[in-house]
């Protein structure tokens, strides 16, 4: 005897495990977080005791107190995204079109950093950029950097760390979209009186736009919320919004402010990303 299910139910059954997981570990915590964000301390209560008072003013205060960190987060994330794009595009281009039989090895090398922990790699950058690393003494001996100047604990170090850490997220989608370009369209462009540079501008770049959009999003979104790079490679002067949220939660135990900041960050990223995708207008290409 076989069990027959009405056809319409099958997709819902298949969706169920994923939905249950997301409901438990994403929807419920989000609702919980939303509730927390409008709470205020209980008068006379202990540290960490809050009651629901629908204090939407938490959002205003949280934002006003941390405008600087918000701004820094988006500036650093934008810079890291641009640098990663500048480094990853030629890299992905070379792998896709010029690497020949080394293509697979190079692709493995791109993702190789993932074999070590994110944290370890960031600490390694502290060594690289530190006083004993090779970067600082080299720049000093070339007189490109003052004898007293340092790199660690500066915004340069934070942006450098973020650029490095998110580079594979930029490279892989770029590679995927470049690789998909039919080489004959490149030849056709040359055949139709376009030199190498014009072909790159008029054919290669437009056809790789889906990869640029995917790569910049995959870099920008996690970079805007990142706090590891800023806390390991930066200083109190390079605090990002992620660092504020982290310290509000775990050090000051100010859950409502942390929750309000989290929501504000989420909303800001969502708006920026929506505007960006609208502007890039790549839906026809994907």
């Amino acid at each position: 005897m076989s069990i027959t299910l009405p056809k319409v139910r099958v997709p819902y059954l298949l969706l169920f495990p994923g939905f249950a997981f997301l409901f438990t570990f994403f929807i419920l915590p989000i609702v919980n977080l939303a509730q927390t964000s409008t709470q205020t301390p209980i008068a006379g209560g202990d540290t960490g005791q809050y009651e629901q008072t629908l204090a939407f003013s938490n959002y205003v205060n949280a934002f006003l107190d941390n405008r600087e960190q918000f701004a820094r987060s988006f500036i650093y994330a934008t810079l890291a995204t641009l640098f990663a794009l500048a480094i990853a595009y030629p890299l992905a281009y070379a792998i896709a079109f010029k690497s020949g039989k080394f293509k697979n090895i190079l692709l493995v090398l791109v993702v190789a950093p993932f074999f070590t922990s994110f944290l370890l790699r960031t600490i390694a950058w502290k060594q690289i950029l530190g006083e004993e690393g090779f970067v600082v003494p080299t720049l000093r001996s070339l007189h490109l950097m003052g004898q007293q100047t340092t790199i660690t604990s500066t915004s340069v170090a934070v942006v450098a760390g973020m650029t490095y850490n998110f580079l594979p997220f930029m490279t892989l989608p770029l590679y995927a979209s470049l690789e998909r370009i039919d080489p004959r369209t490149i030849e056709a462009s040359g055949d139709l009186y376009a030199n190498g540079l014009t072909t790159f501008r008029r054919v290669t770049v437009p056809l790789s736009l889906p990869g640029v959009v995917a790569g910049t999003l995959l870099t920008f979104i996690p970079a805007a919320g990142d706090y590891v790079n800023a806390s390991i490679l930066g200083s109190p002067n390079t605090k990002m919004i992620g660092n504020v949220i982290e310290s509000r939660y775990f050090k000051i135990v100010d859950y409502p402010t942390a929750a309000a900041l989290s929501f504000t960050l989420m909303a800001a990223i969502l708006i920026l990303v929506t505007l960006y995708i609208r502007k890039a207008g790549t839906e026809e290409l994907v």
């Binding site: 039919d182 004959r184 369209t185 030849e187 056709a188 462009s189 040359g190 055949d191 139709l192 009186y193 376009a194 030199n195 014009t198 008029r202 054919v203 437009p206 056809l207 736009l209 026809e284 290409l285």
Partner: protein, 381 residues
């Protein structure tokens, strides 16, 4: 005096072109002149070097040895974008991110032409697709994409238009229709077309001149009728249509004719149609040139007796027979069903006859299987 390559016009001349990849010679010492204004076909099986030849003309490959001239201008090392040559690519290679209008305008814009809109509209009308100007290539059918690829090339009025298996991706019916259309467009615009194909029927339908290529060399060049009626090699005889090749010896002269001994039976053929170098030769006769008669009837021209019908296939316009000859060879015979004579039956004893002028002679040391083993549906990559 220097001539701007982009303005070069005239006959295309390939002089002693060789293209090697390591030890493999894709094109081997090829010399060829394609007259201005002609519809020229490079025909051959996959891997014969025809696409490589085309790519060298386009500038997408550089010859290892040899030179390419367009009119008086040497374009051997000129970059593709500096050649007045445009290509219709095998899978069209339309730009997926641009509209049909912008696809066609691409070459015009690169050259800074003024009346882009007017010229694009004109060529869209020529290929009868003006209503598709604002669509994207993926929204078009294969046949429509093919025409746009053609329009994108001819709008530039190149000195030379290269077509790389342009109809290969279309179904048979559309292919036949496009063949006629392409020929018409070529006459209409008056450009030189160089067409690469593995499809002998396509080449014969469209081209004024065909060069049959095999293993990097040109086997024979001529009009479709010349190649079919008087092939010089077994490869050409087999690749263009079908041939019966019968081993024989030249037995003597009879005026302008040769007397040939085919397994003891004497036939004659014009001297001018023999490409033999010594006494041994293969006598070639196309299957439709044969006539079949019952044993005992009198026949005109050359005849071979002792045949026996081995197989009969009735295919409407004609009946195809396989006739076993006394020396063990099987001959193909196509008879038109136009004389009211009922078809012969399997096992009947017959005489095969034909006009001596239809015979062609090949060298006796030819490989008579050459050109028969190739799969014409294979696409040359």
């Amino acid at each position: 005096m220097s001539i701007d390559p982009i303005e070069a016009r005239g006959d295309l001349r390939l002089t002693r072109i060789t293209k090697s990849y390591g030890d493999f010679k894709a094109v081997d010492d090829l010399t060829l002149t394609i007259p201005k204004g002609s519809f020229f076909a490079l025909l051959g099986p996959s891997g014969c070097g025809k696409t490589t030849t085309l790519r060298m003309v386009a500038g997408l490959e550089e010859p290892t040895v040899g030179s390419i001239h367009l009119g008086e201008t040497d374009i051997t090392t000129t970059r593709p974008y500096q050649r007045p040559i445009n290509t219709v690519f095998q899978n069209y290679a339309l730009f997926p991110h641009l509209t049909i209008f912008e696809n066609i305008a691409f070459g015009l814009r690169r050259r800074g032409i003024k009346d882009v809109k007017e010229q694009v509209d004109k060529v869209l009308n020529l290929v009868e697709l003006p209503h598709l100007a604002e669509r994207k290539p993926t929204q078009l059918s294969g046949g429509q994409q093919q025409r746009i690829a053609l329009a994108r090339a001819i709008v530039n009025r190149p000195a030379l238009l290269l077509l790389d298996e342009p109809l290969g991706a279309l179904d048979l019916k559309l292919r036949r229709q496009m063949q006629i259309e392409l020929k018409w467009i070529q006459r209409e615009v008056g450009l030189t077309f160089v067409h690469v194909t593995h499809d002998q029927e396509e080449a014969m339908t469209m081209a004024d001149t065909i060069a049959v290529m095999n293993e990097g060399k040109i086997e024979q060049m001529g009009s479709p009728a010349d190649l079919y009626d008087d092939p010089e090699t077994a490869f050409v005889a087999n690749f263009l249509g079908q041939s019966n090749l019968i081993k024989g010896k030249i037995d003597g002269n009879d005026g302008d004719n040769l007397v040939i001994d085919l397994f003891g039976q004497k036939i004659s053929m014009p001297k001018a149609r023999s490409h033999a170098v010594d006494n041994s030769l293969y006598a070639g006769i196309r299957p439709e040139k044969f006539r079949i008669s019952r044993t005992g009837t009198s026949v005109r021209g050359n005849s071979l007796t002792g045949g026996r019908i081995e197989d009969v296939s009735y295919i409407g316009v004609s009946t195809q027979y396989v006739v076993a000859m006394p020396w063990g060879q099987e001959l193909m015979v196509f008879e038109q069903n136009d004389d009211g004579v009922p078809p012969f039956n399997k096992g009947e004893e017959v005489i095969i006859s034909w006009e001596p002028n239809f015979t062609f002679g090949l060298r006796g040391d030819e490989d008579i299987e050459a050109g028969t083993e190739v799969n014409p549906e294979e696409i040359d990559e």
